[in-house]
Symmetry: D2
Subunit: 300 residues, 4 copies
């Protein structure tokens, strides 16, 4: 059904797979440089989801994510990062140097160790593993695995983690799900350009909501609904995320758009997931306890 | 010492005062419109702080904040808000309508009630009272009480709340502290343009760090250090906040700037306090447990 | 050599072709709506250019452009435009209405007539025909014909007109040149979302500079060199355009980057071609009379 | 009538004065550094204009501008410029170095000479003298002479030159006109942070339009009307400039806003005057020949 797909899955099936780190697992030890990297964010997929057709919503429940190995890696890349000159924000200052940090990972303790390069300082960091890349085939364009957009992709969203369900617009028959770019842990904004990058073992369950058309990725768990916007500047990513969230609330509950706007002004949350990729990503969310019941009487 | 000051305080003194709400307390009941408002964010102050001189840091410890009354108010103002056309992002679409929401406040339960205007829905919202405006005299310009900038001002930062200490650059002799714009509760981004606006009773303790010059406001509590940036677009506010935080870490601990950059990429936090004022505000923070010890052996 | 190509051309060949207008020529008379449009910016091509290989520069000399017909069309599309709410700058205001303006075109006089919709006012507008879309296959992604980027595309640049030569990076063997979206005339910024949109007859001469790698499109005529940047916000498009121009000057003349920066601060020109497409486009230029001679003694 | 004013002028009076350069005339010869500068943009004024009251428009006709001396100066200042890291766009890259260029000026030929610092190249540049700073007292805030805003100020607009008339909102009794920051010549965007900075002799004629309230500065000459917007990012400066221009056209001619929007999409012009000051400045303009007659039958 899809000559380039790695597998076909049915609605309800569980995908159990392994992913490369963002560098294709080639940066392993002191002395390895980014020149070895053959292409950022090599992904696993696409998976063809039977029954998913344009106009539907793909549902991806994240069941399990495990760091695959005992080391993570992070890099400072000249031309990439929120606080240095970049390809799309070029300046005449001298570029920052390339640098690589290795993070030993203790899976039993669920923590990584940051070791400073310029001093002897080290510190332990608790892990929150997630998939930096998760998405479907775009509607019209084909996008790099570095780019987050309406189809998901390189959202670098810690929301793509165990306990959460992700929703994506289905743009082509079979949806064509892909994943990768495992992150053992990441700060808000991913400001230096990378998370603690790791290979990952992942278990995901896919399903489809027929006839529900959404425009941008969404997340949900038992406590919150979350809407994502991806563009530049952050201002527009935030506007997209919140208008999506307001549209979601309005559609499900009938609360008027301006009442939802007001309510979010008091209880909405903003998460800047990254400010380094070709598009910047903002997730707007609200705790379900503040929401009206759904029109269809289904529980939130 | 200062002809316009409401009081002179010594280092260590406690200021115990009351503030108006952002509308000067004139929007009180259904039918009241924003046309009654004589000027947004009327403030209390300035307070002259003895011993504070340019090049010092003013320290403001927030001891107590209590909503003064049993009602909050919020408004949708045409030309103001993150998701509607505004004075500085003008468009040709028809403006949104003026609307006012009143929030009954139950101080015993520490909660407000949101009542939808367009339906019968209502919901309870827990309160986190803080001062929307807190700051000192600017260095050179005089700024409106709507504008957050290097001097603090209308930061709309929930970080200006009990348990936190705020730091401001002292730009003029006496610092000239002012405060107001009490918020009973506010969502990230303050997207519809207001928080739950309330008069406030406030107790603050002021002191001065002699000879410590900072460029932008900072916050601190027992757990975190937080640096603020205020500008447009959000991208630049975020850059300011993080370069300030990196500078702070570097100065206090000796951790190199690039190591601090890397560490924050994994454990830094971003808080978009508001995206509606003339400058947008971002606060970048880090948990002290991830930091090296301070150079001077003082505990964090 | 290229199964999807419409023709193969040799270096030095002249392409003589006709293009559709941006609406596929389906909006022709009062009553026609945008609902008839099957996809914006249908393009002609791709043309396979023999001898063009990745790392080369494709040279496109624009020999002749003629409006094909005696009418142009322009539209206001809800969700598209610099001064109304859009897909990427969404707001809660009511959208602007869809409207269509028809422009009678007098080719003998080289002018169009603007007829107001809401009054009887009309005015004559002189024409400057150009190709809104001109470009090559992107390096990695495939992009919509609405998107301008490193590969050119929907640059909406009046610089793509008779007398000018355009340069594009060759990303794939054969370059894969395409063109379309004829504009009879357009104001700076293309602010309402369209130019005076017309079918076009076009004559272009293609050639290749072997082994010259460029990153972004460039233009040149006997008087000026021009470098293009495309991104959001305009600030970054401008930064890209000027750093490209400085790099060009530095590479060709040996003038230091900081001297070129200074010189452009006094004699550089900025052209905002459009602020409505997914990326905004800025062209930075300098009159050759201000430049040092080229290193290779070739005349500018 | 105004204790701080340098002079009181009547409507119709001509001001004949001299201004300092942006560095206070202290950077004069090789070896002089920016450390000598006591404050950027020292201005002349304020001038109290009799009969100007809040709600009026101040009219400033620029009669004559002459470079005062035979040398201009330009600087690259670390932390200031469109293509290097700045105070409001801070990054971790090493800052650019401070550099100063001196421009010999030949007033008889109306040209300056650019002499490269890093090579022997020099080139002649024709002059277009204008006032970088021209404005009135702000409405509420007091702003630095580095900041352009609603009151004019450091607009760095070549439109402030002989043959043009500038309009400013009167915010306080007497308007309080000030001027300075003479520029012998400047490129679009003033990208390296300065023009060719010179002391200037200036002759300006002031008058007042009673009861005409405008929001932002405007310019006019016999051929064009021009509206200015100043904010960040450039996108918003452009939106302000064009909505002001549309409002101007609509008010004077009755052309509907959407017809004006459409017309400007075909014949509007955009001038990015600077992208380096605290606010960025865009001027939108239209040739009067495209406009309907004025409602009051007065000629344009």
């Amino acid at each position: 059904m899809c000559s380039v797909c790695v597998a076909t899955v049915k609605r309800g099936d569980i995908i159990d797979t392994r992913t490369f780190d963002c560098f294709g697992n080639v940066v392993q030890k002191p002395g390895d440089t980014l020149a070895k990297v053959k292409g950022d964010n090599p992904l696993i997929g696409p998976f063809y989801v039977e029954g998913a057709e344009p106009g539907d919503t793909l549902v991806v429940k994240i069941l399990e994510l495990t760091v695959d190995g005992n080391q993570g890696v992070a890099a400072l890349t000249p031309g990439f990062g929120a606080l240095n000159t970049t390809y799309y924000t070029p300046m005449l200052n001298a570029p920052v140097p390339e640098k690589i940090w290795f993070y030993p990972i203790d899976r039993a303790r669920n923590e990584a160790t940051f070791n400073a390069l310029d001093s002897k300082f080290s510190t332990k960091i608790p892990l929150h593993p997630f998939l930096g890349c998760l998405g479907v085939a775009p509607a019209l364009e084909s996008r790099s695995s570095i780019t987050p957009a309406e189809h998901g992709g390189n959202m670098d969203a810690p929301e793509a983690s165990v306990g959460n369900t992700a929703y994506f617009p289905v743009n082509v028959r079979g949806a064509l799900l892909f994943l990768g770019d495992g992150h053992a842990q990441m700060g808000d904004g991913e400001i230096a350009g990378t998370a603690i990058e790791v290979p990952m073992r992942a278990r995901l369950q896919v399903s489809v909501i027929k006839g529900q058309k959404i425009a941008w990725p969404r997340f949900e768990n038992s406590r919150e609904i979350m809407a994502l916007g991806a563009y530049r500047p952050l201002d527009d990513a935030l506007r997209i995320a919140f208008t999506e969230l307001i549209g979601w609330i309005h559609a499900e509950t009938g609360l008027s758009e301006l009442d939802a706007y007001q309510l979010l002004s008091q209880v909405g949350k903003v998460h800047v997931t990254e400010m380094v990729d070709p598009n910047y990503v903002v997730i707007a969310s609200i705790d379900k306890k503040f929401l009206p019941p759904r029109k269809n009487h289904k529980p939130w």
